[in-house]
Symmetry: D3
């Protein structure tokens, strides 16, 4: 697997998920935006990192009791300690947010361990504490019930679905205040580069529009506009 | 079509959508509040204006490619430039917010052109930029994917549905931080006038309730309360 | 019915709904968190109080006209005046938030009367006014339409469902910024006590995690951790 | 309460729910068709009868155990024995069909007791046995789980909602293979009479259409068509 | 627009919608199956024909009264008389089946006029009469309420969405007992031809599987299997 | 893992899923009925067998092309050939039935191989052919689109969710015309035995009810009724 360069990792922190969907669409990817999740802590850092996956299935009353968390071996607790720094923990909770898939203590532990963020299509509990952590945390609902009433953590680092999108371990997961995009690992570098270029262009366009220019011939650009932008881009600033 | 007077346009900016639904209910209208949308920019101006409509159907892979935006003629781009200043652009996206129906560049253009606001029952992308514009923008979700993955802009200025409500071009669209109400054009002036009167009364009631008065006989008012209010209203202030 | 002690009432104001779901789960209760509601006014006081219930059924056009609110006897208006200070008014609106179940005037009256809060699985109107009141108010949506277009208030103080949870009059209803938990009346005191102890422990755990400690053996605690916590707890501070 | 005449009861058995919605619409009723239910036994008799209501709220683990059915006093069991012959048992299960609200033994008992039918917006279990009974039974799903996992029968003969429609005890409930319509008790006789006349006209129209006639001027009828129909109706047959 | 050949029209009557989705997928079309509709009359003829579209928006109380059907000009009634023989009437009801978009009289008129079928993502009323007509009729629900309570027919022969799929006037609409596929007009002939060939192959595969053969190397076929099939196909029968 | 005895396997074929949910409820299991699936072929055999699981995640355009089915190794094709005779193939399609998870050729292969049945919470295509096979097949919808447009088969024999229920490989899966129940493997024999006894009792009760007896004291039985049943059961027949 090609790894994401340090420069591109930084570049992706300045790229919007909107721009990324367009760059991925050009390569034939139509379903890359995790549906139905929102960011708890809008004042935190931007989220970029490799996907580390955790999968839940429905709970079963005989297995999912409080004792199951004790000692070692519970897949959720193991994942919290195993997710590498710089990675994003992505949870498949079958889009069921009627119970939590984590709370403030686990989220704090992820933050302290240097994890880049967390995404779940289930709920998060203690959400008003989590929203003050310096950890990007995306969930489908603020949901107090402990995971055992609905979810059973079963395994990690397998391909999963999250919010309707396929997530393979190692995919690059990017979050902004709008939501989360998943970039297939093998094209992450080229997507990052094209997205950075596209961001530069769109910022220039926004500037022109604020100045009163019509979108016709500007967005998307005509040949003249493209030349105008190229000239501007080469100007020393 | 009777046009909304300048005075009533200003009055509607001070009227709540809640009060408008009551005034419309008295005239037999039960379904006037656009369901499932929220305001992105709560610090912006209040929204009042004539509906300018845009309709999307589901995307089709052969037609909905990036090239379709080039040049002139794309219905979405044309609508952005055609919607008159003071009007509200209302989009029918079939209540499907899994993709966007516009982003920050188009919203900025609408703002610069003097459009009064925008309402869509689909998504908006670059939502955290849009929320800082001085343009009331209502959508069903923050949604990064470009419209082409789901939506095909097909025509404008036809009657549409938006959030389950009929919207005819020229209807008066009013938004507050709670949501959006659609007033049939032909009764917009009388509705505005009655709503202004009702607002005055409800502010007076709120004051009384804050002072400790029971709602019985007050809201709705008994004959005595009505007289008391009338007296107060006529008092010089 | 055992009544909640004053000390436990205060303790519950410092307890999270997340912790309460765990304490209730230990006693076999899996469905105690009202689904799909959110808090309008996050700066207000915490909500703890006995449930006072109000039930809506679907509206019927011949019965649900504006005149129905006049005089005495309308169940919604009666409930607003009857709900005792310190209680929480809980409304069953069949999880239909396409219309309101109350607005700013009624909410103000509740606040003035000393009611501890209000929970509805329908909508609230004038929500941007309500969110400034010192009254905890939970609803399923900001929804301008008056209740008559969808809801008919029919009776109060019967057992109801709210957000998928059974609510019996007198149950203890606790709200925090995450949502609302319903505690069966007869176990409210023991739940409050256990939750307070659990909160103390979790705050200590959070502190340890912030200091870099792994969750293994800590959360849930091993025998050693439990002893460590007990020693800490007994230390004079 | 005016009671439905024997002749009108028979007439309603030959009237479609479609025609009834039109007759009720003329009187201002727009929401009379129970949404989301279907008929299990299409070979059974047509259903007409007074509503006898039963209400469920969400189950609670401490109350809803198998022992609760023992002896007398369980509201569901009591309703099965109390619903008068000729009435229709209508159940409010909050449109949650993930568990049953009755099974074959209870349905057989209703049939033997001469009850006219049963409507629930929850599930029915043993549905493939029920579908062979001579008892019209409408439900939202075939659903095996016993009611205790989700539903708690709480009271009967109160106004309820069923499938989004208000049902007052004594309302006339009419079912055909398409579904179920609720007629307010006080207008049941006049609605039955107008529906019978409308049915006669529509059968005549259907005949004309089968013969090749255009619907213009026929449906709805012009003055000429109305005269033609009146002449036909008066002809001895 | 290329027109569908008579031979291909017949061929499509013997092709399954499943096979058509595969043939269209090869050409990049992923969204061609109308979601959420079912066939009322499974004993009727197979449906193939050009799309004739009709569009509904939400009803409005002042416009949608029974009088609106009178005389000429009502878009629904006009469409019933205008849809050419051999075409399929496709209705966009915004996937809202809580009211009907047609009933037995209109469906009978379509049948008599030689229309090839009808598809709506709303409801149909008098469904148990329609299911006996020799007219393929697909709907989202059996729904008694007249269209006026929810739907307003607004125009025809514009591009629409139906069950989440784009439908352009003239597209070829094919139905089998599983559902309905929409083929873009310009590729209808080539799709029909490839689908016929694929059907022949799949029938041969089904035969082999019934005889006990493994699917490996058979479905999809290896080079050997492909040769075997080609030999069989050329054999005189 | 205890294996299901041959006698209990046969007994379960005569047991209803309704009765099984009650027997499992007594042991604390509340969530055992797969939600949202129905039986395609009601004339086929009853379904009992060990769960063999297959898991789908969302499709991704670069991976999910027709070529992926070729040769060996595609998880869906491998599962079709690997599921042991007598087992039930249970598919986790994330409750998304907008595309198929199998069609007639694969279902025929399962039947020929002696598989006991198939359950998917996604769609099945060629459903009207499948419904004539002697293979119990449960799905969430008749859905023509090939799986590649939405689903990616990823692995088998892992614990999954299906229709909201946990399914572990080896669990006993029982289907009747109402739906499907999942019995944890370790208690399958005792559940089968208790369910058979309960079935005998309920058949006796049904007989009594048909004869006119009230349900009070009968269902559930009083001590007298229990004695009466025991006497009847011991009588030679």
């Amino acid at each position: 697997m090609t790894s994401l360069s340090a420069a591109n990792r930084e570049a992706l922190k300045k790229t919007s998920t909107a721009t990324l969907t367009t760059v991925l669409f050009k390569r034939g990817f139509r379903n890359v935006f995790i549906q139905g999740v929102f960011l708890l802590n809008r004042d935190g850092p931007r989220m970029v990192g490799e996907a580390f996956t955790l999968r839940y299935i429905p709970a079963r009353e005989d297995l999912d009791q409080l004792g199951s968390f004790e000692g070692r071996g519970h897949p959720q607790r193991e994942a919290i300690e195993a997710c590498p720094p710089g990675n994003v923990l992505v949870m498949d909770a079958r889009r069921d947010a009627s119970a939590a898939t984590g709370g403030d203590i686990l989220m704090t532990r992820l933050m302290v361990r240097g994890v880049a963020g967390i995404v779940t299509d289930g709920g998060l509990r203690d959400s008003y504490t989590i929203e003050k952590l310096a950890l990007p945390a995306y969930c489908a609902a603020r949901s107090a019930p402990l995971n055992l009433v609905r979810h059973h953590a079963v395994d990690s680092q397998l391909p999963i679905g999250c919010g309707g999108v396929a997530v393979y371990p190692g995919d690059i997961v990017v979050g902004d205040p709008e939501g989360v995009v998943v970039i297939p690992a093998k094209i992450a570098n080229e997507v990052a580069e094209e997205a950075a270029a596209q961001t530069l262009f769109e910022d220039w366009v926004e500037d022109k529009v604020k100045g009163g220019r019509s979108i016709f011939g500007l967005y998307p650009p005509s040949a003249e506009t493209r030349a105008e932008f190229d000239a501007w881009r080469k100007k020393p600033r």
